[in-house]
């Protein structure tokens, strides 16, 4: 469902080419589905009437948006606006999926596959998904994986943080249960579930979904959720058995191991639902939440497509953080 917002009504910028102000930006970034209303003090009865009309209209639109299939998969006004600006800036040269963000000067910047990213200046990323004619109005799923690395040991480095944006439609109790069940998910447990088909309660009943797309439907899809080469392999049975009798290996080298081989890595795996809509491409917003104390990130986005027959399409970014 297309949602056209009157200018400035939802906390998004009034003019399409201008970057949003910081306060509006924060509100929009944190809750893309929960529209924030900017209510100013009324200066007269006419202004008050206009404000009331705007509020009523926005509430009606909000009701329509939520009733028409949920706000998670539906394209938000923010994404639509970003996509429009992206098309204008690229002048139709958008043939491949790509990752973008809006710089402080308002221009849209494509994230290089290997580069530097400002930790505190990039609050929101947008993944541009090229849709085919057959995919129009079909649901799609992205799996977004982050492997954050640091020279020092990172808190909860042996756990995977999982999140599915469908949890946002859960009740508080359901959300608390999902988060509690997934709090102690180990890296090896996550990998074994996807690569060796072992059992895991959190992944099976909370993280993965059956609808609108079954994320475990095919072995190909299941395996696409694994981190694979993104994280160093854990010791196997022989190494574990040897560690009981043989000398124990050092957990982490104290001074500056190479980031790619260093064990301290914090990993996150997210599922993001979207709908291809009726446009040629779709901009899917991603709020990355870069943790403190990390030096770099290996980001991989898997586009699982919209049909069982499609193989997931994967793209990688190796980014170093600057302040």
């Amino acid at each position: 469902m297309a949602l056209s917002a009157p200018s400035g009504l939802f906390g998004f910028p009034a003019s399409p080419g201008r970057a949003p102000r910081n306060r509006d930006l924060d509100l929009a970034w944190k809750a893309p589905c929960k529209f924030s209303l900017t209510v100013l003090s009324p200066w007269g009865s006419a202004a008050l009437a206009r404000r009331l009309l705007q509020v009523s209209l926005s509430l009606a639109l909000l009701g329509l948006a939520t009733s028409a299939g949920g706000c998670l998969a539906a394209e938000t006004a923010q994404e639509r606006l970003f996509c429009r600006d992206l098309h204008q800036q690229q002048q139709g040269r958008l043939w491949n999926d790509g990752l973008y963000y809006r710089a402080s000067n308002g221009r849209i910047v494509q994230v290089a596959q290997q580069g530097v990213i400002a930790r505190y200046r990039v609050g929101q990323l947008f993944y541009y998904v090229v849709g085919s004619e057959q995919q129009k109005d079909l649901p799609g799923v992205l799996n977004i994986k982050f492997v954050f690395r640091a020279r020092r040991p990172i808190h909860r480095a042996d756990r995977v943080s999982v999140y599915n944006d469908r949890w946002e439609s859960y009740s508080q109790a359901q959300m608390a249960r999902a988060q509690s069940d997934c709090a102690a998910l180990s890296v090896s447990g996550y990998e074994n579930f996807h690569l060796r088909k072992t059992r895991n309660y959190c992944l099976r009943f909370h993280f993965h979904q059956r609808a609108p797309l079954d994320t475990l439907a095919t072995p190909d899809r299941r395996e696409s959720f694994a981190f694979g080469d993104m994280i160093p392999p854990e010791p196997g049975l022989v190494e574990t058995a040897w560690s009981f009798i043989g000398p124990r290996s050092a957990f982490a080298a104290p001074a500056g191991p190479p980031p790619e081989t260093s064990p301290p890595a914090q990993v996150k795996s997210w599922i993001r639902n979207f709908n291809f809509g009726d446009a040629d491409g779709r901009c899917v917003s991603i709020t990355p939440q870069f943790p403190q104390g990390v030096d770099s990130v290996h980001l991989r986005i898997n586009n699982l497509g919209s049909r069982l027959t499609e193989s997931p399409y994967s793209q990688d970014w190796h980014l170093t953080f600057s302040e």
């Binding site: 249960r177 069940d181 090896s188 072992t198 099976r204 009943f205 010791p235 049975l237 574990t240």
Partner: protein
């Protein structure tokens, strides 16, 4: 010729040891005081099997199998089991002779029964790779609104129960029938204790 003879002797010794070991292992029953003494080094072999199956069972339930986790779990679980088994044997009046030293061999046999039961429980969890029985169980746990740790406890409990049924069946056959086995109150009491010990043990190891 000499080497061949030595190799043949070594293989025969190995075969004899394996036969003795497995004959004792197959005689694992609830009435642990009737189990013959295991051959030397049998506990090391049982420990090896236990480690292998525990590792595979933990992997099957997507639990951490790194050396740090395994250290903690093995140490804590077996320490608790050893202590509980040791304490329990003292309370059996037939095993506690007045003035006699502590029945260490009876304790060792009880620990052996518990360990074999845990191995069986872990083997049943590993069997899920061939016959998927855990997924429906998790589905039921989810329908009941259980948490992840409760669901794992549920699966571990069911595995322990199956392991207990195997040992109980063996005990009944060796006792000469259901009536013969359950006619002795001592067997009934130890059956209950071993079932509880198995549930606790398998759950601790698959936590």
């Amino acid at each position: 010729m000499m080497v061949q003879k030595k190799l043949r002797t070594a293989l025969l010794k190995l075969q004899a040891y394996a036969a003795l070991y497995f004959s004792v292992l197959y005689r694992t029953v609830i009435q642990f005081w009737l189990i013959p003494n295991p051959p030397t080094g049998a506990n090391v072999l049982t420990g090896g099997f236990a480690f292998l199956l525990l590792y595979s069972a933990r992997m099957q339930l997507s639990l951490p199998v790194d050396s740090a986790s395994m250290y903690t779990i093995l140490f804590a679980s077996f320490f608790i089991i050893l202590i509980i088994c040791g304490v329990l044997v003292v309370f059996d009046p037939r095993l506690r002779k007045p003035g006699a030293p502590l029945q260490v061999s009876a304790m060792a046999k009880l620990v052996s029964v518990i360990c074999v039961g845990i191995i069986l429980g872990c083997a049943l969890v590993v069997l899920d790779t061939v016959f998927p029985w855990i997924d429906p169980l998790f589905g039921l746990a989810n329908a009941l609104g259980l948490s992840a740790s409760s669901a794992t406890f549920f699966a571990a409990g069911v595995a322990a129960l199956f392991a207990f049924i195997v040992i109980l069946t063996n005990s009944i056959i060796r006792a000469g029938g259901v009536r013969a086995f359950f006619s002795d109150l001592r067997n009934d009491v130890w059956s209950g204790i071993i079932l509880i010990m198995l549930i606790i043990g398998v759950d601790l190891l698959l936590k």
